[in-house]
Symmetry: C2
Subunit: 143 residues, 2 copies
């Protein structure tokens, strides 16, 4: 019997995270996928504050605090004074962090390509569109 949407999602995200984790380890990067996700979100902005990250990723601010703390301790991030908003701090990738992010970007591209084998660009786009629609539907009725 065909899986429901929910089941398909559970299984896909599970595979996706696993692949990401294993590939990262194979690339010598031993980092929880949540850390990787946060780092990737910084790529787009290059720099921002913790609040923005939490909002962007839909995570609790306490969770973000802890991941950032860990990434700072590992030397991938540094916190600097925010130029305009003086009550938040600016998250900046260190040199080491940028290098790491480049590596992540590389194998992430590979994964993405493997993941969409047999799918057209149109299908991929539709998939994302539908996912977004479903998410908005869900968020409308709950939060």
């Amino acid at each position: 019997m065909q899986d429901s949407i929910g089941e398909s999602l559970y299984k896909l995200i599970h595979s996706y995270k696993n692949t990401l984790r294993e590939t990262a380890i194979q690339s010598g990067i031993k980092l929880p996928v949540g850390h990787i996700r946060l780092l990737k979100s910084l790529r787009k902005k290059e720099s921002c504050n913790a609040k923005a990250v939490a909002t962007q990723l839909g995570l609790d601010k306490s969770q973000v605090t802890r991941v950032i703390k860990d990434l700072v301790e590992r030397g991938y991030l540094s916190k600097e004074r925010h130029p305009t908003n003086h009550r938040s701090s600016l998250l900046v990738l260190t040199h080491s962090g940028k290098t790491l992010l480049d590596h992540i970007q590389t194998f992430e591209n590979t994964i993405s390509q493997e993941m969409v084998i047999g799918l057209t660009d149109q299908q991929i786009d539709q998939f994302i569109q539908i996912a977004d629609t479903m998410r908005h539907n869900l968020e409308q009725n709950n939060d």
Copy 2:
């Protein structure tokens, strides 16, 4: 900027789980979504063993053991002697478990309907198909 497939998935599953959890609580059911997921998997079969559940859901057997143990303690499941395979035990829903599962089924249907507002049956089907394709692609290259 448009989210990547990975980001869309993270966010959608997050919303989905949250909605499920909140709706369950509103229905007076305070159960982790993982428990709910396992219970739902039993409906299709009505009865099976822990191994089958683990395989079906892609979970570690130890995880399944613990969830089942909890569901047994809560009185929703019972373990009986398997008629053919004598080294595994048969998982059977108790009366209370069946009632619970009915309730779950009810609000789960509502959620599913809300989730797909604005989408055609064809789109929903495509979404599941694409999700399955991606999962298979990922599993091919890793495990």
